[in-house]
């Protein structure tokens, strides 16, 4: 289970207290390999530390109007649910504690921290079966900050905080620095091709689900293309301001398999964190 290995390496540093020696899985930090045991047994083993047992994760799933869009076969929401399902599964494998905040324009659901197969699978089922409704209107900034503020109080320190959203250009919530201090914040951005590149041509009579305006979108119009480029630029800026470290930014392309993208992210993050710890 390579993904599980990378997941462990990616999100935790090494703890201080030695717990036991466990079988090495591809993706685990090679530096933890206990060479003595490996030599004795003839297969790789690694040391496990106490800290690894207690890992708290949180997914802040912000289901804005941007989630109900897909220029291709899939909409962003499906990709986001894929991600949630994968994280749930990884948490089950590692017996980690996972809680989920599900925020839409009209509702807010908090799934209490749970651990283990039954609890987490139940949570995953609820989220995956949550009513699919096209919601017009953005999530209000006040509501977002309020939910974030509550989350700060609810979660233990050093929680791995996944913010799952499409991150449209907007103001950064004031509470955000506190979250950055307390938690390990990782941004998971769902990207439709239309969010990242300007289509060549096409004319659509459309409704903007973020504010309900009816309009005609003409990609052939250079002004529209220019404006869209500007919008993209703005979105990218917000994204980088929210998550300054490249290792904290995961961008999921709707059109590509979520599993593969998550795997590559974890791999990259592992390498970065190893480099950091070597420097120390």
């Amino acid at each position: 289970m390579a993904l599980a290995g990378f997941y462990r390496s990616a999100f935790r540093g090494r703890g201080v207290d030695f717990d036991q020696v466990v079988k090495y899985v591809y993706g685990d930090d090679v530096r933890t390999i206990d060479w003595n045991v490996t030599a004795r047994r003839g297969e790789p083993y690694r040391k496990k530390y106490i800290e690894e047992r207690e890992l708290s994760l949180h997914i802040f799933f912000e289901e804005g109007p941007g989630m109900f869009f897909g220029s291709g076969n899939r909409i962003c929401r499906e990709c986001a649910l894929d991600f949630i399902a994968l994280i749930c599964y990884l948490c089950v494998l590692n017996r980690d504690c996972l809680s989920i905040n599900h925020l839409t324009a009209s509702s807010h659901t908090f799934y209490k921290p749970g651990r283990g197969r039954s609890s987490l699978f139940a949570t995953a089922q609820k989220i995956l079966n949550s009513p699919y409704r096209v919601i017009s209107g953005q999530i209000e900034d006040t509501k977002l900050s309020q939910v974030l503020r509550t989350t700060v109080r609810l979660l233990p320190k050093h929680t791995i905080f996944f913010w799952l959203s499409d991150f449209p250009p907007r103001d950064i919530p004031k509470v955000w620095p506190i979250l950055q201090q307390r938690f390990v914040c990782i941004g998971v951005r769902i990207d439709d091709p239309w969010y990242t590149a300007t289509p060549r041509s096409g004319m659509f009579s459309a409704i903007d689900t973020s504010d309900g305006e009816t309009l005609t979108l003409d990609w052939g119009n250079p002004k529209v293309r220019r404006q869209h480029t500007q919008w993209r630029h703005c979105r990218e800026q917000i994204w980088k301001r929210l998550f300054p470290a490249a290792a904290d930014r995961l961008t999921l392309q709707v059109g590509q398999p979520t599993f593969k993208q998550l795997y590559e992210f974890l791999l990259r993050r592992t390498r970065l964190s190893q480099r950091c710890s070597l420097n120390i």
Partner: protein, 340 residues
């Protein structure tokens, strides 16, 4: 002569106007497919105050209306009346016998000869009938064709201005003159359904038939058989009239009174059997009235075979219609169901 007017070749096309409300109703009912695109509004360039959606619909309906009008085929009809096809053939038989010199007519208070008095009136008559073909027969002791039927009235007037008694030998050949006039009219074929229509003879004389080969009544019967009315005008007063006397060199020596010898019976008879009219003109004013009456009796006819020149004028409507249609397509962002 040109008569212009506008008409529609397919007026039933106007029924298509009934379609316009139906189209507008269907447009209102039409379900528009829309894509849900979040943030799309922020991808559009900041709007200038764009034309309200009403304009698009207004342009569309105006262009449709114009197209319907164009489809009804507006045509400009120009009626061309060919000059040969209308009007009468008229032969004027003018007496140039010596008695026409009798000065029993007055013009502007002056005594003038009968001939001088009637010639301007004949010229006026010719001028009044620009669409008729007119020919002239003059007669004294013999009858001659001065002009065959022609449309060249200027030339005719000129010829009439030159007429004088001296050219012909004395005498009054009414019968011959009528005969020649009839034969001139028959040369130009104008028979419709076996009856000659559209021609008549005006016979102007002041005497009785006293020479020639044909008797007036014979000629009249000839004319009657061909259906040519003969309007006879007896010129001059009855009784004693002053008559100029010339010497050998042609100088006026004085006047002598003579009894005019107008043959009213024969003239009346001629006009009766040819279904024309007989008039008696004692002076220039009466002659004028008589010609006016002839004008009235033979109204200027228009040929039934009217040639019309039709010009299609649809492009004046179709081109702006297409322009409007194009403009309404150009107006962007207003395919709303909210616009009618």
């Amino acid at each position: 002569m040109l008569v212009e007017h506008l008409s529609f070749a397919y007026p039933w096309m106007f029924a298509a106007f009934l379609l316009l409300p139906i189209i507008s109703y269907l447009r209102l009912k039409k379900q528009v497919h829309r894509v849900l695109i979040p943030y799309a509004a922020s991808w559009l360039p900041p709007r200038r105050n764009s034309a309200p959606p009403m304009w698009k619909a207004v342009l569309l309906y105006v262009s449709l209306a114009l197209l319907i009008l164009a489809a009804a085929r507006p045509q400009k009809m120009i009626a061309l009346q060919p000059t040969e096809k209308q009007g009468y053939d008229i032969m004027l038989a003018i007496d140039l016998s010596g008695s026409m010199l009798a000065e029993d007519a007055f013009q502007n208070g002056k005594r003038v000869s009968r001939l001088r008095a009637i010639l301007p009136i004949i010229q006026q008559f010719i001028r009044n009938r620009p669409n008729d073909r007119i020919g002239i027969v003059v007669f004294g002791g013999k009858a001659y064709t001065l002009a065959n039927l022609t449309m060249q009235h200027d030339w005719l007037e000129e010829q009439i201005g030159r007429l004088s008694v001296e050219h012909l030998e004395d005498g009054t050949a009414i019968g011959d003159a009528l005969g020649i006039a009839v034969s001139r009219l028959t040369q130009k074929d104008r028979v419709q359904e076996g009856v000659r229509t559209g021609s008549f003879i005006v016979l102007i004389t002041d005497g009785a038939n006293n020479s020639g080969y044909l008797q007036p009544l014979q000629s009249a019967q000839l004319a009657a058989r061909l259906g040519i009315p003969v309007f006879t005008i007896a010129v001059g007063r009855q009784g004693v009239v002053p008559f100029p006397v010339f010497d050998r060199a042609g100088h006026l020596r004085g006047y002598e009174n003579r009894v005019s010898e107008i043959d009213f019976d024969t003239l009346q008879h001629i006009s009766r059997i040819t279904e024309g009219k007989h008039f008696h003109a004692e002076d220039a004013a009466t002659v004028e009235k008589i010609f006016a009456e002839i004008d009235k009796a033979t109204p200027k006819r228009f040929s039934a075979e009217r040639v019309t020149l039709t010009t299609e004028e649809f492009h004046w409507l179709a081109i702006p219609a297409l322009l409007f249609l194009f403009l309404s397509l150009l107006l962007r962002g207003s395919t709303n169901a909210t616009s009618f």
